[in-house]
């Protein structure tokens, strides 16, 4: 295998890890609460702006920006849950779609109004530049995002499968009335789920900002990939989102390199639809 092809695959894996990272938050709320959060991409965008502000005001890198973005977005997640989601969940599906879509526009254009339409960027060497391993170039910022993606996935998976809190959250997801009878408060469980989901999304945004441009509409660009990643991985499955993200990243890179960039979306979506034909619940979703 030529060195360029290895580079293409490595690039695809790192890209895929990033896709997985910003999809994990979506898979939590979508899979567990059956709420499609159309504002997800804009949560990523907010995380990116937090990282940008932390850098411009204090010169801090993702070491400061990422935890702060996680914290702020987690808070926002709780506010959004109590202020919006709790009520629209009782309404029809359409109310959820329009409600979260409205939230997306509100967030996007608040940032637009405050920061303006300009494209912003963090300095390229904020996270240790680029390594060269046997001719393969690996960007430290993407590697960091990839490693964090793995850790977040592992953490969320353990939380959901090995902890009491996780069991309670899953119980609420499965049957909220029955859970309530067992003494679990669905409201607090779902608020916690929103805090975790939004926090993970903010973290993703802060890390992506180290190698991607920052602009109010960036959530639109990144949002679609998150939806595809989650449905391919299986709703509510955090490891599924990781595998799906990696797969999509590598397929995009390979098809972009071998066939041409304009065809890569076609290849990804054709494979995606073909896969759902055989396995509509996604890679790791439960039937």
């Amino acid at each position: 295998m030529s060195i360029v092809l290895v580079q293409v695959i490595v690039g695809g894996l790192l890209l895929g890890a990033v896709y997985a990272l910003f999809s994990s938050g979506l898979t939590l709320v979508w899979g567990m609460m059956n709420v499609v959060n159309f504002a997800h991409g804009d949560f990523v965008m907010l995380g990116m702006y937090v990282a940008y502000v932390v850098y411009t005001l204090f010169g801090g890198g993702p070491l400061f920006g990422a935890p702060l973005a996680t914290l702020l977005l987690a808070t926002l997640g709780v506010i959004v849950y109590f202020g919006l989601i709790r009520d629209i969940m009782k309404g029809p599906m359409l109310a959820q779609i329009l409600g979260t879509f409205g939230l997306a526009l509100l967030l996007r254009y608040s940032v637009f109004w405050w920061f303006g339409a300009n494209f912003l960027s963090l300095p390229e060497n904020l996270v240790g530049g680029t390594f060269d391993i046997l001719g393969i170039r690996i960007q430290a910022s993407r590697l960091l995002a990839g490693v964090v993606a793995l850790l977040v996935t592992l953490g969320l998976h353990l939380l959901l499968t090995r902890s009491t809190l996780g069991s309670r959250m899953l119980a609420v997801a499965e049957d909220s009335t029955a859970a309530q009878l067992m003494g679990i408060r669905p409201d607090s469980m779902q608020a916690i789920a929103w805090a975790i989901a939004a926090g993970a999304t903010g973290l993703a945004g802060a890390l992506i900002a180290t190698f991607f441009y920052v602009v109010p509409t960036v959530g639109e660009t990144l949002g679609i990939v998150a939806f595809v990643t989650v449905s391919l991985g299986g709703f509510g499955s955090v490891p599924g989102a990781l595998i799906a993200g990696l797969l999509i990243g590598v397929i995009e890179s390979l098809s972009g390199y071998l066939i041409g960039a304009i065809y890569k979306d076609m290849v990804v979506y054709a494979l995606f639809l073909g896969f759902l034909w055989f396995r509509p619940q996604g890679l790791m979703g439960k039937t």
Binding site: V4, Q7, V8, G11, G12, L15, Y109, F112, G116, A117, N118, F119, L120, S121, E124, T130, D132, R137, Q139, R142, F211, F212, Y213, V215, P216, T217, E220, T221, L222, V225, E252, S253, L254, G256, Y257, G260, A261, I262, K264, D265
Partner: protein
Amino acid sequence: MRFSKFVALLSVAAISVGLASGALAQQKTVKIGAVFPLTGNAASAGVHAKYAIEVALDIINNAHPELGNLPLAKNAGLAGLGGAKVEVVFADNQGSPATGQNQALRLITEEKVVALTGAYQSGITLTASAISEKYGIPFVNGESVAANLTERGFKWFFRTTPVATDFAKVYYDFLTDMKASGAKTDTIALVHDTTEYGASVANTISTIFKEKGLSIAQDVAYTTNATDVQSQVLQLKDKKPDVVIMISYTSDAILFAKTMQALDYKPPMLLADDAGYSDPSFLKAVGKISQGAFNRSSWSVGAPGSPTALIAKMYKEKSGDEMDDTAARQMQGFFVLIDAIDRAGSTDPAKIQAALKATDLKPDQLMIGFKGVKFDDKGQNILASGLIIQLQDGENYVAVFPKANAEKPPVMPYKGW
């Protein structure tokens, strides 16, 4: 009873007619519609376009004798219409051809604008101008370069900017000149998106280069607003073309610059076709890692105190950014439109159209480096021209070609970061 009611009605009617005519005499304004991407992914360009038009409005509606021969600057308002002021209604195309078309329709039918300008993206200028054509309203475009815009046999569409065909020739001359001075320019790669702009400019360049015996070795097309361009950069790294011509909007241009650095790829020569590479936010975001990039432009600040320098200063005060080529071309297009309305002495669309056809502006009447403004039968400015600029220090472009207009000699190879 009946009679008194009649009298009352009559007097109300008389008063309202009197009020209306009084209002007409007082607020004689000329309403122009401007369609730009004020939100969406090209909002950065659209917002700067809005600043450019607002600076032009200041120049038109207030007395600016310091701006020399620039038409409309000397006195306040339009002399041809008894000092009438110009008002611009801005509309947001949201980066979508369908929205741009709807907004053009709204401006014409609801806002009753007498002429239109815009719409930045060639693909949206295409749809928006189709509406103005249908309603017989003049549309003056100052910035969209896709060739087909003036190939549709439209009677109401006028374009002041040089188009892809003009620039392809400038690029060819520039590459020939660079080759003569020792640079390698044998293999050329075109990198472009698949929008109306990207596809048509790439097509024009490869057609004109082929006519002149220069073939395109590599064509790298991608979908705009890409999430990742690593594979495209690796394709270039693989083939090692001597010259890479970038035809990209801002978002993709920034991503390419970042990815090229990450993958340690520097083409010997990088020549950009305006758009993203002229966006001030591109320069701020990645100018420092794009040093040595060539670009095209029709704008030059000029000597301190010159009319262009004064306009650049007004623009900077308004927007906080340096004047760039795109904003300057938009402003020039708007001036040409208002100048025609002034000469027409009327807001009647047919009279404005006739005045646009009769436009014959000389270089000293322009704020941009064209040889003049004069439209052919298709509505294209035949005196539009441009030059090649280079981002030598990573902050500001300097003119490097043709030699007559050069501020500095071109520097090779592409430095990057």
